[in-house]
């Protein structure tokens, strides 16, 4: 077991005890998949006040978890990508169309993940899931998929994968500005009986252990992510809901305006990091 003690002081403290130390990954490791080098740390975007360098959640995972993401044959998230590719050409709904009828090859989706969530033609902020369901109901005459359904996770994994390696680049000004402000406000709000904000954990304490969890900066560039804890892929909104309930607060619904605004703000904090979808986390 690579039980690397995280600090000299901890090592001293641990000497002669049975205390288990979580296996920490190498925070200076390089993420390379199929010869492609990913940006896992870069200068923080200008709008961020307290952090000068941003770093991907991948860097904070154990060496084993890091390795699974580095090999597409081991990465269980790739099965969802395959599922999405199958669905891409599947004719569904009253109009006799598939995604491919309008969009041609799935590769045409390259870049989409980097700019989600995005303001639509009516001035509303939409997540990728909203765009997909809009195509299904308005163009295909098909049923909307549930936010966390297998079909939706397959499709968002596959579409996000088309942007893998490209830098996150969401719009935060112009018509996106009000949503971004709303998300920013939420990020710094201390919710729940534990009275904790996102910033308390992911801005003030990244790199620190919170019991068995190694706190990262809480970026969304890897989503949808395959989580060992979930034994499956999950959406950004699933993760955000989980973090909010951990503060012993009432949480917001998947697809709610609140979570989509928060998603935009959180995505903007990771601007410049490579899209890693589907990433692997514990």
């Amino acid at each position: 077991m690579p039980g690397t003690a995280r600090k000299a002081t901890m090592a001293a403290l641990l000497a002669g005890t049975v205390m288990v130390v979580p296996a920490l990954g190498d925070e200076s490791a390089e993420l390379v998949i199929d010869g492609e080098v990913f940006v896992t740390r870069t200068e923080a975007p200008e709008h961020m006040d307290y952090i000068s360098e941003i770093s991907s959640g991948w860097l904070f995972r154990s060496a084993e978890t890091q390795a699974v993401q580095m090999d597409d044959f081991d990465n269980p998230g790739m099965l969802y990508v395959d599922g999405g590719l199958e669905e891409w050409t599947n004719v569904d709904g009253s109009e006799g169309q598939s995604c491919a009828s309008c969009h041609d090859d799935a590769e045409s989706m390259a870049g989409v993940r980097t700019r989600m969530p995005q303001v639509n033609a009516d001035g509303e902020l939409w997540a990728m899931e909203d765009y997909i369901n809009n195509c299904r109901t308005e163009r295909m005459g098909a049923e909307a998929w549930g936010w966390e359904s297998a079909d939706m996770l397959n499709m968002t994994s596959m579409i996000s994968y088309q942007s893998r390696g490209m830098p996150v680049d969401v719009q935060i000004d112009g018509e996106a500005a009000e949503y971004w402000e709303q998300g920013r406000e939420m990020y710094y709000t201390r919710y729940g009986q534990l009275n904790l904000s996102c910033a308390n954990c992911h801005e003030d304490n990244y790199g620190n252990m919170l019991r068995a969890d190694h706190l990262s900066q809480g970026h969304v560039n890897g989503f949808p992510v395959y989580r060992l804890k979930w034994a499956g892929v999950g959406s950004i909104h699933r993760r955000l809901r989980g973090c909010i309930s951990d503060t012993r607060a009432e949480t917001f619904a998947r697809g709610s305006d609140e979570l989509t605004a928060l998603e935009l703000y959180v995505a903007s904090r990771g601007a410049g990091l490579s899209v890693e979808s589907p990433s692997v986390r514990n």
């Binding site: 205390m19 288990v20 979580p22 709000t189 919170l210 706190l215 309930s245």
Partner: protein, 139 residues
């Protein structure tokens, strides 16, 4: 059998009297804290979960100590019992804006989970138990 304190003797969350520095001189229950029960509450994820944030050598039998707050070795030497009670009840009086939750407050939170509205994280007696345990952590 130790008698449970009559409800009238328990200081309600909103009625706790803080000193100039945020310390709380008077016991919340009048019943001496049980340090063994306090140790349990310190570990228990549904109670204090203090270990999530604090390292504590006395508990090296426990896996996974947090690093968010200071190490608590010798904390019973560094602080008085009244200070420690104040830190557990609501450490924000002593450390403004701290991440550390207030363990004996039941109001002023945003979007609290419905079943927890009006509830404190620890009961008055559990606060006393944790204080008693912390007092055993001497250098």
């Amino acid at each position: 059998m130790a008698a449970a304190p009559a409800l009238a003797d328990v200081v309600a969350p909103g009625d706790v009297v803080f000193g100039e520095y945020g310390e709380v001189e008077t016991s919340l229950t009048g019943v001496p804290g049980d340090s063994a029960a306090g140790r349990e509450a310190f570990i228990n994820r549904g109670l204090g979960n203090c270990l999530a944030c604090h390292e504590n050598s006395e508990m090296s039998d426990q896996p996974f100590h947090g690093e968010v707050g200071p190490m608590l070795d010798g904390v019973g030497d560094r602080w008085s019992e009244a200070d420690l009670r104040g830190i557990i009840v609501n450490s924000k009086n002593i450390f403004p804006d701290t991440i550390m939750p207030a363990f004996y407050e039941n109001a002023g939170f945003i979007n609290t989970r419905e079943d927890l509205i009006g509830e404190t994280i620890l009961t008055a007696q559990q606060v006393e138990d944790v204080v008693a345990y912390l007092m055993t952590l001497q250098d």
